[in-house]
């Protein structure tokens, strides 16, 4: 399967940076838990044993420490923001780096005896594997971090939270890890659609260069407008944004999403087969 070979190849190309990203995330989060928990324990000791504040009063003032709280510290948000930024950047780099430099690898990729759309699929698969990989690692990290917190802070001073509660309390994590499986598919489905549209726009640019950049932007904007059209149109013609019932809206958006994805793949197929230029 050439597709799998290409995916493997793309993954291997990114793996070093990826491991660095994973490393930073793991180290920073675990360090964050240890540092913050120790700080808190320090505060507890200071207040209760030195200043002789009653325990209840201390808790009233400072509250218990919890993983949910920690996820909102820079130790967590920093590396996660970094990973997001890196992957967003990589969305572009995954295509453009094949053209850049004196070793124009795109020649080789386009000359592989396989359907060229496989390049498109392999790149999108790689992006998704990388994203889901980070999510998976985060899901593995949370129980571990919970354990560290449990070891450092005694029971009375911490709120015991389940993984789901930590995710909900963090606020942002529930975007990547919604608690319902269907929502997971919806969020990543929308993500998939956005990436497919972006890749199509990139292929426009790669095919027609400056003119293509314009076409790509027009394409992206059109897809966005189409996707939002049920809301925009109802708002524009004055019947109100809630003209459709939520489950109708869901089905309409689902259909529009599928149309946008299908159209983008069709256009990408055409561009990469007939219009792309080295």
């Amino acid at each position: 399967m050439n597709y799998l070979k290409l995916v493997n190849f793309e993954v291997n190309r990114f793996i070093k940076i990826y491991i660095v990203l994973l490393g930073i995330t793991m180290v920073s989060q675990i360090a964050g838990v240890i540092v913050k928990a120790n700080q808190y324990v320090g505060d507890v000791n200071q207040a209760i044993y030195e200043e002789l504040t009653p325990k209840a009063e201390f808790l009233e003032m400072y509250g218990q420490i919890s993983m949910g709280m920690l996820t909102r510290s820079m130790w967590f948000t920093g590396p996660i923001a970094l990973c997001i930024a890196a992957l967003l950047f990589y969305l572009f780099l995954i295509w453009y780096r094949d053209w850049f430099g004196k070793n124009t690898f795109i020649y080789r990729l386009l000359m592989l005896p396989t359907a060229r759309l496989n390049l498109f699929w392999s790149k999108i698969t790689t992006i998704f594997l990388m994203v889901l990989g980070l999510v998976a690692v985060q899901l593995l990290l949370l129980p571990l971090e919970n354990l560290f917190l449990r070891m450092i802070v005694s029971k009375d001073f911490r709120t015991e939270l389940s993984i789901i509660q930590i995710i909900e309390q963090s606020g942002y994590m529930s975007v990547f890890i919604p608690t319902q499986l269907l929502e997971f598919f919806i969020n990543y489905g929308i993500g998939f659609m956005v990436v497919v549209v972006l890749f199509t726009a990139i292929l426009f640019e790669r095919s027609f260069r400056f003119k293509g950049m314009f076409l790509g932007i027009v394409y992206g904007v059109s897809c966005t407008l189409l996707f939002l059209s049920p809301i925009l149109i109802t708002e524009l013609i004055g019947v109100g944004a809630n003209y459709f019932y939520p489950n109708e809206l869901f089905l309409i958006e689902l259909a529009l999403g599928l149309i946008i994805v299908a159209a983008s793949i069709y256009v990408s197929h055409f561009l990469i087969k007939r219009k792309i230029t080295v």
Binding site: N103, T104, Y107, L110, P113, S207, I276, T277
Partner: protein, 229 residues
Amino acid sequence: MIEVRDIKKKFGRKKVLNGVSFTANKGEITCLIGINGAGKTTILNAIMALTPISGGEILINGEKLHKETYERVAFIPDAITMLPQMTIAEAMEFMKDFYKKWNQKRADELLSFFRLKPEERISSLSKGNTAKMNLLLGLALDVEFLLMDEPFSGIDIFSREQIAEVFTSHLIEGRGVIITTHEINDIEHLIDKVVLLDDGIVIKDFHTEELRAQEGKSVVDVMREVYRQ
């Protein structure tokens, strides 16, 4: 046989190819000659569907291009088509992975012929060795046609000699070869056929031995006539 029929290509308003036609036969070395900017590279890119053409068609053994074409025609561009961080062995592994027509025996033979070390990284190769490695990637494929873009330009004399040897060897025997060059001296005796390009059209197209037999002229003589005008 590769048939290029009346192909046209524009970059913006500039017409780079303005109806180019020629054929390249199996078992022959066809040389596209033109001073820089004559669209030689564009023609090779077009044959490999690496750039769209605005008119005309290209047939390979009578068929239009499709994905299996890349198992029949190998293109060796003027820069190496592998990632700089790969080692030679990894690059060969990559080719072996994707091409059914990869001939490992031939690849190993070329490796020792060019005296390349498999563990060396592509980014650390000398110019000459990069060119040789690039050549290896194409030559080790059991394809019917080989396209080479300026295989001799910008490399040292010894590498050039070594590469020239390839043209008289079994490595390309029986295959059809199209090479581009802007400088004919080194290879005048190596080629069968010349396609002279200028301003996006074919000015003249002849077999070298026939030219010598019938007109008593060298290729350079013809070039002089053509380009001095």
